[in-house]
Each structure stands twice: as C-alpha cells, then as structure tokens.
Symmetry: none
Subunit: 172 residues, 2 copies
C-alpha cells in the first residue's frame, strides 16, 4: 500500500524536475538514477525498517541523497562559468629622462663618430653582420671599428663595451 504510494509520489517529483529540465537529455539519466535509488531502498525493505526506528533518519537520508543528486545534476547541466582574466601584456614605452651625449668622454677616449654609430647599434642588439648592412659597409669594417672601440673603452667584449658606454653616457 505505502509502497505503491511512494512510487507515485516519487514519480510526481520526477515529473516536476523533468518538466523543469525537460529540454536537457540529462533528465533521462536523472530519472533512472532516482528510480534505481528508491527502488533499491524498497527492495531491501530498508524504508520499512528505518521507518520503525526513526522517520527522521529516513528523511535525512533522502535529504542527503537528493542534495548529492542536485549537486551532480547541477554540475552536469549548468554551463560552466567562464571567468575571463585579462592579462595585460606590457608594451613598454621608455619614458626616462632624455639622453644627452657625453661629448667630453667621447673626445677623451678619442672615439670617432663612426665608431659611436657602431657602438649604438651594438647596444641595440644587432650582430656585426646586421650593423654592416645597416651602415652599408663590410663585415670586416665593423669588426675593425668594434676592435678599436674595445681598445678605447678597455673592453674585451661587446657587452662590456656597451656597459661602459652607458655609464659614460656615450649611448642612451
């Protein structure tokens, strides 16, 4: 008697939920799972046993199960929230104090105009070959200039020359 009514009530419950989500195919899965769970309860006569002990335990169990079901349902049905994170990629615009060439140091070290050009392009990260192309001269010429520069700046490497030149405000 009660068993039959329980099935009816659960059916209505399912209908309510189904009508709310009927456009989603997950409702089939949901119904099956709910039916299986409650049928299992009945088949094991757990409901009857539990009822004799405590109606509230049964209610709590239902609450638990359906809370879990709801969570599971929601995860399946709800379109995932998309949190848009805007990552600002910095395109740096140098805004430092404007550069003034240290002509005193230039004359002091006897660095010529052409050498200074090479030095600046070096500091810009160009290779000797690229510098040669930029200045319309041969690679060997650039090498000569750079060698002279290293000697005048007392440097062994272009990086060292750049570092010293920046200190001396020969380049910006």
């Amino acid at each position: 008697m009660c068993t039959k009514n329980a099935q009816t009530a659960v059916f209505y419950t399912e209908m309510t939920v189904l009508s709310a989500i009927k456009r989603n195919k997950q409702n089939i899965v949901y119904g099956v799972v709910a039916a299986v769970l409650l049928s299992a309860l009945q088949w094991l006569e757990l409901r009857f046993v539990i009822f004799q002990h405590s109606f509230e335990i049964y209610a709590g169990a239902i609450a638990l199960i359906f809370t879990g079901l709801g969570i599971w349902l929601a995860q399946k049905l709800i379109k995932p929230k998309v949190k848009t994170v805007v990552v600002e990629k910095e395109v740096v615009i140098t805004n430092g104090p404007e550069f003034v060439l240290n002509e005193a140091a230039m004359e002091d070290l006897r660095i010529s105009k052409r050498e200074l050009e090479v030095l600046q392009l070096m500091a810009d990260g160009l290779s000797n070959q690229e510098i040669a192309g930029r200045l319309f001269v041969s690679l060997n010429t650039v090498k000569t200039h750079s060698s002279n520069l290293f000697e005048k700046l007392e440097a062994e490497r272009r990086t060292q020359a750049i570092e010293k030149a920046k200190r001396l405000s020969l380049i910006g």
Copy 2:
C-alpha cells in the same frame, strides 16, 4: 516527541554535509538555509498534516527541496573555468634612478631566478666563462641558462637579450 527527534536527525544530516564541505565557507549558509526550511515546516505543522495525508508527499517534498539545495550549492561551489585573454596594453615605465624589478614581466615570461642572475651578469659585460666562475657552475650550465633566456626573451644574441631585459626592467 517526534519533533525533537526530527531536529536531531536533521542535525546529523547537516553534520554529514558539513564535514564533507567543511573547508568551504558556504557550509554556514547551507546550514542556515536547511535549518530555516525545516523549522518552517515544523512551525507550520506541515509535517504533521502531510504525514497524516501521505508520508510519500513529505518525502517527495524533501527530495525536491534538497535537490534544489544541491543545485544551488553546486552553483556556489563550482569553480569557474578561467579563460585567459591577453590584451596588449601600453605601459609607460618610468625609468627613475632607483631600479625596481618588474616581477610581472618575469612571471609572464617564466624567467627563473637563476636565469635572471645570468642575465644580470651578462649585462654587466661578463663572458659565459666568467659568469660560470661567479656562480660556481660549469660553462655548459651558463650556456643552457642563456639559451633558455634567449628563447624566453625572443632574442638571438646576448646583446639583444640585454636590450629587451632593460626595456622590461628585468635588470637595472
């Protein structure tokens, strides 16, 4: 009598749920909502009335309510999917006298601490061999670090890497 037991059962139900999600602050809200709902049922003596009519209706109502609760809970708990949108933004970096490391760019380019050390020594004009000596590692290690740096900074030469790094305030 039954009222008292009902409270106890619901309390245990809450405890179960709380222990499962206790690290989430939503449990407080959840508990409050559940308590209010069931208290409301009792206050209205709906439970007693419904029970006389049909136990199954009560069960169905609980199922419905807790399904909804579960759905609501899930919505609150689901961590949103993170969608990263890279937006290029021109940022003027004031090249003041005192140097401040651009940690944002560092993490952006995934440059490690060790790589930064190598980068700084490069900019100081040291050769790979000298850097190796300074950091107490082998020449090959320095080469590996520098190669990784060039890739991360999209540079082909150390001078170019230094130039870009200075722009990004990775080095002073």
